[in-house]
Symmetry: C2
Subunit: 698 residues, 2 copies
């Protein structure tokens, strides 16, 4: 039993009035869930989770994911109670400029927050990645430890709302988690059955528990409403903390399945008139309701942010529990360390964001070859070469392994023993990931893995299906996570699969996103430098955009070194003196620009070719370098990219020409399509002449 | 029982060799599913679906959705067999330029194709919209008919694959369909358990049938493998068509639940060595395997595209069944018509893409008001005004009704009687849609509704969550569907919810998509003209992007009429003679430009203000008009939009300045954020002066 004393009960009620007050003060926000989940959150922080408030980055800690991020007060108030650094003034500053208590929890911003949440479904989906990372990390550093004895064993705790479980991304992730038998994942489903449109019966009447059982989860139901409606109006509502704790204990015993504990609550309990209503979900309760709630709970309705000294003194004692847990862990860590000196050296490197010895030498170089190789195939060779050198590297695909070339050949799959197949052997500690056809959950899981911090991860699909995972990509960018998205089949050049599979707008849409590096290498050696540079960054996600079709491997004795890729853009082929025109190309169109340069030379036009695989990296170069590559005085410019020209005008300027494709594709041979859609030497040459003429005309 | 004769069996086997041949000829594609689903597809087209090959657009027809669009041959061969217009030469032209048989089925391109599919999950998700549309159409035109007797009653048939059911969008849609009790929806789950990464056990081991039961579907399992593995290697595989038909008949009897028939098949049956393998999923089988399959089935291995005359003569007889069904339907339609003259007039208008009498007069006009009104609130008033005038209009939100202002006040919800709530009353025939927090399924359902053709539909969420529904939006654009996406909370101006909820890149990413009109009106009257113009288009989707915060309602006696919105951009406020600078703004920034113009005037700078709510509409104007609004000679230009400046350079040009925000937002008051991020009169004035100086400098 939880064994709560009066002061624990008072503390929980204090949470409720603080939540009501904080939202009331700023005038907007989400008070309801923070009020009704006060007992659960308190139980987790005070008694259940292995955490140490004095060391929020402790690698042995359990992770906490507030998937219903709008209820950020649920977490902020516990962080305040537990002594993570938040104080009452921070709660008073909720949702205001510069505060430590933004509308939704933000990782790297508020101590004790393990993940940025807010978009529904994202938290619980990322938690699956966190749980996977815990298992992989153990497999990498301490595979032989008995279950539960490794310093790398920890649990991932999630609180999810009705909204989280309506989102498809949580469904994908739930299916994946069940398949992966993630016993270290325990999620609470706050089944208050109220969302912004009030009673969820209007749109959401499925049997959630049965659904999670179908996924292979261990599911328990704890009904505080005892059968009454979401309004709690039959007067039967009892916050049975002991029953909840019993369910938690049972969930901890289940080590071969993720656990869902469906907890039926009354939203905004015990607000007298707004409990169990949509109004209490996303709006301030109003002075009157706040006062009435305070009276009901024995607080002074005229005071705000009232926290009794003995309450905060009591809750802060959790620090002792944390220190103790940490000390225990340290003992097990120290014995692991002495038994595993190599493992410890690796861990130190990973903690320090270091790269392995021999990192740069591990990359293959590709001989010049007119027939060439698809950049996706080059990427596959690079990953396979990195496999033995970088144990922290892992990744896979959303059911397109062979198409995306995302498999490190020779490495085992990350899969429960029973689910190995003829095609894929592996173990729960493997490195080749199989996400199934679940792109968004893949993205969210990659984020969760990156948040766990000790590995480097990538995941692949077709570029066109980056659309399916944009919510995850955006969260990777917001959280500055070093995740690599491998997106192949990067243009109409993919051919016969037709318009639904051919990206047009995707490069532009990804470049438009803040905080994401978009790299489209032009040949195999550019692909190698792209991977090298990506892995040298630890503070941002990257999109690696690769061709389905073969690209000639350029002769680097004739053309500039592919090392220029690291600067985002470089002069690949130059002229003597000032060029008449600059041809700027990415990916599969680099070779087209190279050919057009030759044709232009035949008619006496001196063209420079700039390969521009990554606009973001280029923009970060000093102005001198940028002006060297693209001299402002040379206004005759042509960009060539088999994608929408949207967004290229700022590179080519008013006198320039952007060769692109601004309509959907078609089903036919890829080479033919590129020709039909105007990606020809003649078109580049004509555009160059046009641009030169435009400059001449003033 | 199906009662198949030898010729039916021969026809089904002919499907298999045609599928193998067609993929072999082009050298790529997906033969496997078309082979193993031959019996199911044949049964549906020849015996089950109410269709008339002589009239593919017949409004009384059942709809067919091939959610596994990669298996397009499954449909193409049946269209050929049934006489929809495809011939053997079309099958030979599979996946080639200009053919009627592209890689994935394309609506409006190949007769008999009801929907473009390909992106997995999209078809089955859109089918939910089709089933909803059938019910709403009946409610609009023939509400009192007994079940199954209305000419507007029809079924929606779906074939979905393992991949379809892994995607989150199908999960969202499945939950929604169960909730909506869509008895007219029958889906087959081709459970071959093979995907591109071969045996799906490596990633997908949930109990799909139990999951769909949890959604509230009627689920049946038909196991042709009789317990053997996906490889069929125990030799027990029997294509029991009678069992399948019995399941279909049972599904038809269930009118209060959607039906899933899980059919366990062996992929590529009976290819001797590649059946049940990932290789047979997405690649040509190879000459040898094709020949071996033909031998096995009693076909000449040296012949390709062999169709015996009596086979095609037999299958084409289905035309008789179609004509008969159509004639029967016509009788019921005629009696409906005479009993419902007003309904028939409405139907005629809808079939002719007409707008109602009084359409233009129905729109409210908004008085000038400095305090103003949020464009989302204006939109809500407009929708409410349109409600009584346009019975074909319906829509709702993904659980943000009050935030998106998407409710036509006074109209009933579209919800089963039992699932009405305190907040929402309605009926199965209602007009206010409740999608739950399922944005992508909402988008797909909207597409399905639009494909059904007789209604106009819209759906709302926050702009930032357009990311969740991009796959649906793209399919709306590809299919040229008149769906309206209502996206509110359109900038950092939304305030406290912070970076996860604040769109930055979204306007650019939507503009980059071909075929989508993106409209961001600047005040209430612009919002009215935006809606009017959107509803006047029947051939494309629109994104209506609206503010959370109040926008001043401009005094149209002082400024130009909002009618200019229909042209995408117009001169809102002008100068005498040639302006010194043009300020171009959208949405909430229009007023900022108007204010900056005044400030500039004080220092003697003559600024024109162009409101540019829709770049796509503007680009469609004659060059004269465009040059009138943005004279090429006026190169001093400033764009102002609270979003990424990405993509604005082509409007403002080399001498111009684009005021935008290229980083993520923050949690604070919206007004404060706009100020902090540089959306101030001073910033616009400075940019204008800079641009004027840049022009002067040459």
């Amino acid at each position: 039993a939880a064994g709560w004393s009066d002061i624990d009960v008072r503390a929980v009620d204090t949470v409720r009035v603080l939540a009501a007050d904080a939202v009331q003060k700023v005038g907007n926000g989400h008070p309801g869930t923070a009020m009704s989940l006060a007992p659960l959150a308190y139980l987790l922080y005070q008694q259940v989770m292995r955490i140490d408030p004095s060391d929020p980055e402790w690698i042995g800690r359990d992770r906490f994911v507030l998937s219903c991020g709008h209820s950020s007060l649920t977490q902020y108030i516990q962080l305040y109670f537990s002594g993570y650094g938040l104080e009452l003034d921070d709660l008073k500053a909720l949702r205001t400029w510069g505060s430590l208590t933004p509308g939704h929890p933000e990782v790297h911003h508020t101590k004790g927050v393990d993940i940025t949440t807010g978009p529904l479904g994202s938290g619980i989906a990322s938690s699956v990645g966190m749980a996977m990372a815990a298992r992989r990390t153990r497999g990498m550093l301490d595979p032989d430890a008995a279950p539960g004895t490794s310093p790398f064993d920890h649990r991932v705790w999630v609180i999810a709302s009705d909204g989280d479980l309506m989102e498809g991304v949580s469904a994908e992730a739930g299916s994946l988690a069940g398949h992966q038998e993630l016993g270290n994942l325990i999620a609470f489903y706050d089944q208050n059955q109220i969302s912004i449109e009030d009673d969820t019966n209007v749109s959401f009447t499925e049997d959630v528990a049965a659904r999670y059982r179908a996924y292979g989860w261990h599911v328990q139901e704890v009904d505080w409403r005892r059968g009454s409606s979401p309004k709690g109006d039959e007067g039967t509502y009892v916050e049975d903390v002991d029953a909840l704790l019993a369910a938690i204990e049972e969930a901890k015993q289940v080590t071969d399945k993720p656990s869902l504990i469906a907890l039926k609550t009354v939203l905004a309990w015990p607000a007298p008139t707004k409990q169990g209503t949509g109004k209490a979900h996303g709006s301030a309760l109003g002075d009157e309701e706040v006062a009435a709630t305070k009276k009901l709970l024995g607080f002074d309705p005229d005071k705000t942010f009232e926290v009794e000294d003995d309450v905060i003194a009591h809750t802060r004692k959790v620090a002792d529990r944390g220190r103790e847990a940490h000390a225990q862990w340290q003992t097990s860590f120290d014995s692991w360390k002495s038994a595993n000196p190599e493992g410890h050296t690796l861990l130190e490197r990973l903690l320090g964001n270091g790269l392995p010895d021999g990192f740069e030498d591990a990359f293959p170089t590709f001989e010049a070859d007119a027939k060439g190789i698809a950049s996706r195939a080059a990427s596959g060779k690079i990953l396979t070469a990195l496999g033995p050198v970088m144990p922290e590297l892992w990744g896979g695909s959303a059911d397109l392994a062979e198409s995306n070339n995302t498999t490190m050949e020779g490495q085992p799959s990350f899969v429960p023993d029973n689910w190995q197949t003829t095609a894929w052997s592996g173990s729960p500690y493997g490195r080749v990931l199989h996400f199934g056809i679940r792109e968004n959950a893949m993205g969210m899981a990659l984020n969760g893995i990156a948040l766990s911090g000790l590995t480097r991860v990538y995941g692949g699909t077709f570029l066109v299906f980056s659309d399916y995972m944009r919510p995850a990509v955006r969260l990777a960018a917001i959280q500055k996570l070093p995740v690599t998205f491998v997106w192949t089949h990067d243009s109409v050049g993919l051919g016969e699969d037709g318009p639904t599979h051919q990206p047009i707008e995707h490069l532009a849409t990804l470049r438009a996103m803040p905080g994401l590096d978009v790299i489209r290498p032009g040949d195999a050696n550019e692909t190698a430098v792209a991977w090298r540079t990506i892995l040298q960054h630890f503070d941002r996600p990257a999109a690696l955009v690769l061709s389905r079709q073969a690209l000639p491997t350029l002769d680097r004795t004739e053309y500039a070194s592919a090392d220029g890729v690291a600067k985002g853009a470089y002069v690949l082929a130059d002229t003597d003196g000032t060029p008449d025109v600059i041809l700027i190309a990415t990916g599969s169109e680099v070779d087209l620009a190279v050919q057009a340069r030759k044709t232009l030379a035949e008619s006496g036009v001196a063209a420079r070719v700039v390969s521009m695989p990554c606009r973001e990296w280029f923009e970060q170069q000093p102005e001198d370098y940028r002006n060297e590559v693209l001299p402002p005085s040379v206004r005759a410019r042509v960009s060539v990219e088999a994608a929408t020209p949207f967004g290229w005008h700022d590179i080519v300027g008013d006198a320039g020409r952007a060769i692109g494709i601004d309509h959907f594709g078609a089903s036919a041979d890829g080479k033919l399509l590129l020709e039909k859609f105007g990606f020809t030497v003649e078109a580049v040459v004509t555009a160059a002449q046009d641009s030169i003429a435009a400059v001449a005309a003033g």
